[in-house]
């Protein structure tokens, strides 16, 4: 009897084990001992550091946020394409030029796809690039200062979406247009879209030492939508792949009219071939207008230069450089595996995932197995380039990342899940729900030859009930999964800022060692820097008044200023004399029509104040800098426009 009971229990135990394996969709609701085990996996003890950095796009915030993994803690919001009153970015005189474009000053942007610079196909952690979708731009952020140091506008582009992905040695950061437009822009009927609009794919060279960007060439492609892209790597280094949709070339009600073709294309671009063509004088210089904004870390000042022409290349002028790979149903993500062999087209309206083979593609090209052409670009036969398909993995595939162990992870927007499948056998290994409707996912180093694995996180479009409610508007949710085992394990649910599109993540060790603590005051070469109290002064030039001001714990110098008149344009040039880590000073004056300034040690920032009222107005340090922060204040006297109060200033004594 006892034995019978025992064996029954054993069988029951086995059944439970099997069902829990198969029914992985339920594993989100673990509790008790298992839940505490999961908590340990994301617990980073006070004072300890996370193992990974995650750089998550802020979407319509225009910025880039910095997170730690596995804790999901946010460390910084880096202002990129949007004004940021917290630091004065886009408000200070030094950083206003960063947001200059051929359309004038633009205070906002829609940031999408960050990508970290690479050397030999491996992430090197020097720079991170991110695209602005709305007014096409690419930004470079320096990962020693975590500040935006360069922004280049992309002419002839519209909806800069298939961007900003870097090639294996950061030779190029690539920016493709989502919307095709008249090139060059002109006044013409919208209905004449078909055959007249074009899609520009821009290859922006990156100078190796400082990362300075310059548009090497733009490939003027047929008027499709270029949705996402990724570089070839390893064997396919030298190629770039772009998904297209709207090969129907519809210009109205695209949700129907651009969903008619059974297959759209992945455009395969041999950029090395075009580079050679261009280096030999190929392509034509087209008049254009686009801003190139560069921030200089020594002058702490950005300059904006308007460029006047861009080199464009017609694909039919470079035979053998561009091919179309038919890919089912309006593919969205275009992802290349770490070996460079597989190109995954995530056909968002398709039931299956399509995977193309780079080797087969080369073979088909060599044997000229073409299936017609589009605007002079050869179309390869679907069957000839297909490596395989993942059958019925889920609904609405969007993006795929890789773990370096031969596995791929694809997000499914409609069925709201991440599916793990095997490259080569195309079998589904695991699936886990996301909360809810996942867009991109990121594996540290997942877009390189050497993914760093361990974690994957899914960035969702819908939050609903995941957190305490905050009214109708919610931050988006993200989920972190442990991917070190066969099955994915949900570890953590954390909110993100704005709308996170893509994210780039990498091991923290390389970046954290290089992170700067202060700016060198000795090297500060700002035109209006006052490097000691002796350099402080107030200079009037007509109705412009320049105040060379210093800050150090815990006073401004000068802190009494008289002789300002209504109608003056007063420039506060504030230098932080500190050379100590994490001792910023802030500056704000009553009635300031811009933002505060937050000035890092060794830095100079300038704020313009145009006083409209007579009075004695206080200014103060906005950052609780020291025990005597509350004493860190000063007064500026504003007299009537016709007064003759002399321009005088002091610190530590009265103005006579």
């Amino acid at each position: 009897m006892k034995n019978l009971l025992k064996s029954t229990l054993a069988i029951l135990g086995a059944l439970v084990a099997f069902t829990s394996c198969n029914n992985s969709a339920n594993s989100g609701g673990k509790s008790g001992a298992l839940a505490s085990n999961i908590a340990e996996k994301v617990y980073v003890a006070p004072g300890e550091h996370d193992e990974f950095y995650a750089f998550i796009s802020g979407g319509y915030s225009g910025n880039l946020t910095v997170y730690g993994l596995p804790s999901g803690r946010m460390f910084k919001e880096i202002p990129v394409f949007s004004q940021f009153p917290t630091s004065g970015y886009g408000y200070s005189e030094e950083t206003k030029p960063m947001l200059n474009t051929s359309h004038g000053f633009i205070p906002w942007g829609d940031s999408h796809h960050p990508d970290i610079s690479q050397t030999n196909g491996e992430i090197d952690g020097r720079f991170i690039f991110i695209n602005e979708n709305n007014t096409p731009r690419i930004a470079k952020i320096d990962l020693t200062t975590f500040e935006t140091t360069e922004i280049i506008e992309v002419p002839n582009s519209a909806g800069n979406h298939s961007s900003s992905f870097v090639t294996e040695n950061t030779e190029y950061v690539v920016a493709g247009t989502r919307f095709s437009v008249p090139v060059p822009q002109r006044d013409m009927p919208i209905s004449e879209y078909k055959g007249n609009f074009q899609g520009a794919l821009s290859f922006i060279s990156v100078e190796p030492e400082h990362g300075h960007m310059d548009i090497k060439f733009q490939l003027l492609m047929p008027g499709f939508n270029y949705d996402l892209s990724h570089p070839g790597r390893g064997k396919s280094h030298g190629w770039f792949f772009f998904t297209t949709y709207n090969t129907e070339e519809a210009n109205t009600l695209l949700e129907v009219n651009a969903s008619q073709n059974d297959k759209d294309f992945i455009a395969a671009i041999n950029w090395k071939k075009i580079e050679e063509y261009v280096n030999n004088g190929g392509g034509t210089m087209m008049p254009a207008e686009y801003a190139h904004n560069v921030y200089d870390e020594v002058t702490h000042t950005a300059t904006s230069t308007m460029k006047k022409e861009v080199r464009v290349v017609n694909p039919s002028d470079v035979p053998g450089a561009v091919y179309f790979l038919p890919t089912p149903k309006s593919p969205h993500g275009c992802d290349v595996d770490p070996s460079g062999e597989y190109i995954v087209g995530n056909g968002k309206l398709s039931a299956n995932l399509t995977v193309h083979s780079f080797t087969k593609m080369l073979d088909a090209i060599e044997n000229k197995k073409f299936d017609g052409e589009a605007y002079g670009i050869p179309i390869l036969k679907f069957e000839d380039v297909l490596a395989g398909s993942v059958e019925q993995p889920g609904l609405g595939p969007l993006h795929t990342e890789f773990d370096g162990e031969g596995n791929a992870y694809t997000t499914f927007f409609i069925s709201s899940e991440v599916v793990k499948w095997k490259l080569g056998t195309w079998e589904v290994i695991d699936r886990k729900p996301t909360y809810y409707s996942v867009g991109h996912l990121t594996i540290p180093g997942g877009n390189s030859r050497k993914p760093q694995g361990k974690y994957m996180f899914a960035m969702n479009k819908i939050t609903k009930d995941r957190y305490l409610p905050t009214g109708p508007e919610l931050e988006h949710s993200a989920q972190l999964y442990d991917i070190s085992g066969d099955k994915m394990e949900l570890l953590l649910d954390f909110p993100t800022h704005g709308e996170p599109h893509y994210a780039a993540a990498m091991r923290a060790d390389i970046i954290k060692e290089r992170s700067k603590k202060i700016y060198s005051l000795a090297e500060n070469n700002h035109d209006y820097a006052a490097k000691s109290d002796a350099d402080t002064k107030v200079v009037r030039k007509g109705n412009e008044v320049h105040i060379y001001m210093t800050t150090i714990r815990s006073h401004f110098s000068p802190d009494n200023i008289e002789g300002i008149k209504v109608g003056d344009k007063v420039y506060f040039h504030v230098t932080n004399l500190e050379q100590d880590f994490d001792v910023p000073h802030g500056f704000a004056v009553l009635g300031q029509n811009t933002s505060e300034l937050l000035i890092m040690p060794g830095q100079t920032k300038s704020s313009v104040w145009e006083p409209t009222k007579v009075g004695v107005w206080p200014f103060y340090c906005t950052d609780f800098c020291s025990a005597l922060h509350q004493e860190m204040q000063g007064y500026i006297r504003v007299s009537p426009a016709n007064s003759n109060v002399p321009l005088k200033w002091s610190m530590g004594e009265n103005i006579e």
Binding site: I518, D580, L628
Partner: protein, 206 residues
């Protein structure tokens, strides 16, 4: 006596390490300074452990009215100490050399040690006096004035050796590489004396 002489030379030349390495080190940690600020005391001046440590120590000290850390030309010690150390190192080496050739008695080794010890104690006494002045000769207009329970102004004198808590700062004062080299060198001269004595006794018994 040859062995003793060589040890004597090595021992006294180890003093020259003071020209390269700090004699002493004072570290100041605080809740806000998880990476402590520090000063390395060389025989010819005081340097920060990190580039801006001295500037930052001075910046903090202005709140309690301490004088700034002296520059080399502000203290006679920084010009005299190098000469004394160089002189003693050369003297020790000469004594050792003469010892090798049996020109002088091993007792000179002990003599050198005693002279060096007296100079060392004088140096420490002088250093401690400076610490007392630095820590207690405060600006009467200091922003923050802290008094002892008996009403006397608190002294911010760092410890000569060891650990002390000064307001929010944990202050640790210890010899540094140059200092340790000097101690090892001085000990070696004692060893030289001992070997010299042994050799001498052997000789007399023979």
């Amino acid at each position: 006596m040859k062995k003793a002489g060589i040890i004597m030379i090595i021992g006294s030349l180890l003093l020259l390490g003071l020209f390269k390495f700090p004699l002493w080190n004072i570290m100041l940690g605080a809740p806000q300074y998880p990476e402590p600020l520090g000063m390395n005391i060389y025989i010819d001046g005081i340097k920060g452990v990190s580039e801006f440590d001295l500037q930052n120590i001075d910046g903090l000290n202005h709140y309690i009215g301490m004088k700034t850390i002296p520059k080399p030309n502000e203290m006679w010690e920084f010009s005299v100490f190098p000469k004394v150390i160089l002189g003693m190192a050369l003297l020790g080496a000469i004594i050792g050399l003469l010892g090798i050739f049996n020109k002088i008695s091993y007792k000179f080794f002990l003599g050198w040690f005693i002279l060096m010890s007296v100079l060392g104690v004088l140096g420490m006494y002088d250093f401690n006096n400076w610490l007392i002045d630095y820590g207690s000769n405060l600006d009467p207009h200091a922003i923050i004035k802290v008094t002892n329970p008996d009403g006397t102004p608190m002294s911010y004198k760092p410890p000569l050796l060891g650990f002390q808590k000064l307001l929010n700062f944990d202050v640790t004062s210890l010899p540094h590489t140059g200092g340790y080299l000097m101690f090892v060198g001085m000990s070696l001269t004692l060893v030289a004396f001992w070997f010299g004595r042994k050799a001498s006794l052997k000789k007399t018994t023979q």
